[in-house]
Symmetry: C2
Subunit: 476 residues, 2 copies
């Protein structure tokens, strides 16, 4: 009885099918050389992952059976042991640990935060910044001074700041398309704000959570005190609470006070590990292509997107290549780096050992921006001419899979030290779509349920495809 | 004390900033002409939306204050009235309704489904397919025959099918990168399966939900009976239940029966409306560029991604242009189509009136694949040469916003009838990333909470940008 209806949607892409030769023609016109063999191999990589992918179920285990795993915690150790076993189960050529010493910061009891408005005390959601010191045991109460930037502290000076709680409240700039840039421009408040406020005698710091999302999750993350400087307690406050506090300050001025209490502390450094798996190169066993993410996570949730997805994608890259019977020319490594969140000891150690063992590193890919749908890769160390060439060859091969953006940019925190230690390396950042990342980043919302299976798998396949191309062709 | 830490992530895109001239150089090399004026205008469009966007809050109202709005329902009427008022509030040049008659199907009581395994009755999640007839009042119990395709029915024939419940259980093919194609290739089971099974004397049909997600939501959608054919009750079954039923059938063969009960029915056609708003063209008031989605939705949830996001983006396109003080050369229309889900009466009427009023239609954009992060647009009616030209000019302008994929493909269900009625028109489908769409599509999971604000806004801005380009330059 009904004629077309939503069923038309079913037919939508039939048009695409019949016009595929045109589509290919379009690619050919704009590309230099599309290698048919590479194209087929990449298709097989995606098929293997989309049909037999295991990273989603592995991530489920990491998130739900292990959970939060801050460096030095018992869970971090569990994750190391489980990660090594997982790699061994896959039967890769070589699985090993790299021992490191890591900082061991603990949050202690759940933090308390309150806006004090005369006789009213309004509880608000806060969480200590990573590496922060505690408040006094019965908490800290003080007047609040709201600022938008570190520079503003200099203008205000000690007279306005001394003894107060400095409230950094500059929001994310929503105009950045890639939200990582909004993080970059707002992040000094969290990272350097407490140290800067301490110089002017502030009693404590609260920082608007580094997210555009208006929600009630505090988003933690590391802050850095100056060496030898005064260390004052610092906490992240949810964006909803930040807006509430700001509105009250506007309305009632300095009759508003803030109270918070946290019992976090630094314990002595402790032993931990990077976890590494290899497919040994058949032609150049001492030349390496690395793909990695970090195994540690903040303690407020499950470290799903940050960076459970990255480690599970990294090992998946090796699984895909092995399942396909691919024998790489060069040695391909998956690395679970330890301690990206509050120390970088794993990345440092990996580079140090690479230099010590005289390993030749061709490229390293880091996946640490969440397990979202792929966009492409950022390159650090490729010349403009090389990048243009890659864009027109590999970029066009990856474009049908949504991963064709090959652009200049950073590699990543964990692989960064390789730049100095293994000169000539090209560092590559996996660039997923960034719109949802800061909704979950460093917050209680970073849970398995917010990861989509297909998005995660497409990311793993994208990296396997890029590594295949690098292994086959190098960058020349 | 800590050195680098996750803060390195903050600096990640600084590299991009300093290399922006290189980025621009890359674009210039591969593009024919980048118009600086257009580039600035597009940047302003995105800024307006990302800073002042209202479609997210409008969507919240539609989902939470109105909710499900199947054609003919009181909620659909509420949505029409609210939609018209919203458009009037924005002060567009012209707001009006187009009256249509729509089918009026109602689900009745919540369906019951059970796998019968000897004395055990296992409740499973089902939902009647749209336009299905009811079961007998006390339900339908029968043997089950599992099939993978309509063709298989012909092989099995009446002897194997008569009196049974046919269970269509061919899953989504996960290898399609664009999931809309997986929907296209699995969809015949839901759309034509019941009619085909009825021909062989089946008593009823259950169809595996059209999703790759393994969850417990039945995903409904329209089925079509043959004119004059026998109409048998048909329901969608969740993927979890489908897997369970299939496993039991494998294990225990035809000792397994299925029971289901549904009380859905067709009521007489009723009056409803398309809702239309215009910014009148300053040079060519009788030339039209349309952007639209559909206002009706399935009844199982809030019709958030299907297609609340589409209608809210459509009106947002006009809001953006008006807020910027842009006076279009041609008349730009936002259309809330009625009845896309089970009848297409709105799309038919819109095209019919366009022909009747001798309107000249340049282009129509449909947004009905969810409010996810943008990828680009599909074009129906543009020659290969035109599309190549657009790809190299507009595609490069839209690429930095993630919307640069301009490829051949369908326009959409609602704008489809314009092709015949207003020859020369170019139909355009807005193409967001499709990975998550069928997790929610037509199911109880299609709720506001699954829409991301920024993704929604980027889609609206992408369409505003494309419409600006069409309005300024046409396709020649």
């Amino acid at each position: 009885m009904q004629k077309n209806s939503d069923y038309n949607k079913l037919l939508f892409f039939d048009a695409m099918k019949t016009k595929l030769p045109l589509l290919i023609a379009l690619f050919l016109v704009t590309s230099l050389a599309v290698n048919a063999q590479d194209s087929l191999m990449i298709r097989k990589i995606y098929d293997e992952e989309l049909v037999n992918g295991q990273c989603y179920q592995n991530l489920h285990y990491l998130c739900k059976k292990i959970g939060p795993r801050l460096s030095g915690s018992p869970n971090a150790q569990k994750a190391v042991e489980w990660g090594k076993k997982l790699m061994e189960t896959y039967g890769f050529d070589h699985v090993f640990l790299q021992q490191i010493m890591v900082p061991h910061w603990v949050r202690g009891s759940k933090e308390l935060g309150e806006i004090i408005d005369g006789n009213k005390r309004i509880p608000v959601a806060i969480a200590a910044l990573g590496m922060s010191v505690a408040t006094p045991a019965d908490g800290l109460t003080a007047d609040v001074i709201e600022v938008r930037s570190l520079k503003q502290l200099d203008t205000l000076g000690e007279a306005a700041i001394k003894g107060k709680i400095v409230f950094f409240n500059r929001p994310f700039d929503p105009r950045f398309i890639v939200t990582l840039r909004a993080y970059g421009t707002a992040g000094d408040q969290r990272n350097a704000g407490p140290a800067a406020a301490a110089k002017y005698g502030a009693a404590g710091v609260i920082v608007r959570s580094l997210t555009e999302s208006i929600d009630n999750y505090p988003h933690t993350g590391t802050t850095r005190y100056d060496k030898g400087g005064v260390e004052i307690p610092a906490a992240a406050i949810s964006t909803i609470a930040a807006n509430q506090l700001s509105a009250l300050l506007k309305q009632k001025g300095n009759t508003i006070k803030f109270y918070f209490k946290q019992s976090c502390q630094m314990l002595p450094d402790t032993i931990s590990y990077n976890v590494v798996a290899e497919l040994t190169g058949t032609e150049n066993p001492n030349k390496f292509i690395t793909v990695g993410g970090h195994l540690d996570s903040w303690d407020l949730a499950e470290g799903a997107h940050d960076d459970g997805t990255g480690v599970m994608q990294s090992v998946e890259v090796l699984r895909i290549l092995k399942a396909m019977g691919y024998r790489p020319k060069n040695t391909i490594r998956a690395v679970f780096f330890m301690n990206e969140e509050n120390g970088d000891r794993g990345g440092d150690k990996y580079a140090e050992l690479a230099a010590q063992n005289k390993e030749e590193h061709i490229a390293a890919i880091e996946t640490d921006f969440g397990g979202f749908t792929p966009r492409g890769f950022t390159f650090d160390g490729a010349s403009p001419a090389t990048l243009l060439k890659l864009k027109e060859s590999w970029g066009n091969l990856l474009e049908p899979y949504g991963s064709g953006q090959l652009i200049p940019g950073g590699g990543g925190t964990d692989i960064g030290p390789l730049k100095e230690k293994t000169p000539g390396i090209i560092l590559i950042g996996y660039l997923p779509d960034s719109q949802r990342y800061f909704d979950v980043h460093h917050s209680g919302n970073d849970v398995f349920e917010n990861v989509n299976k297909r998005e995660l798998e497409l990311g793993a396949a994208s990296m396997a495809a890029l590594i295949y191309l690098i292994d086959q062709h190098g960058f020349n």
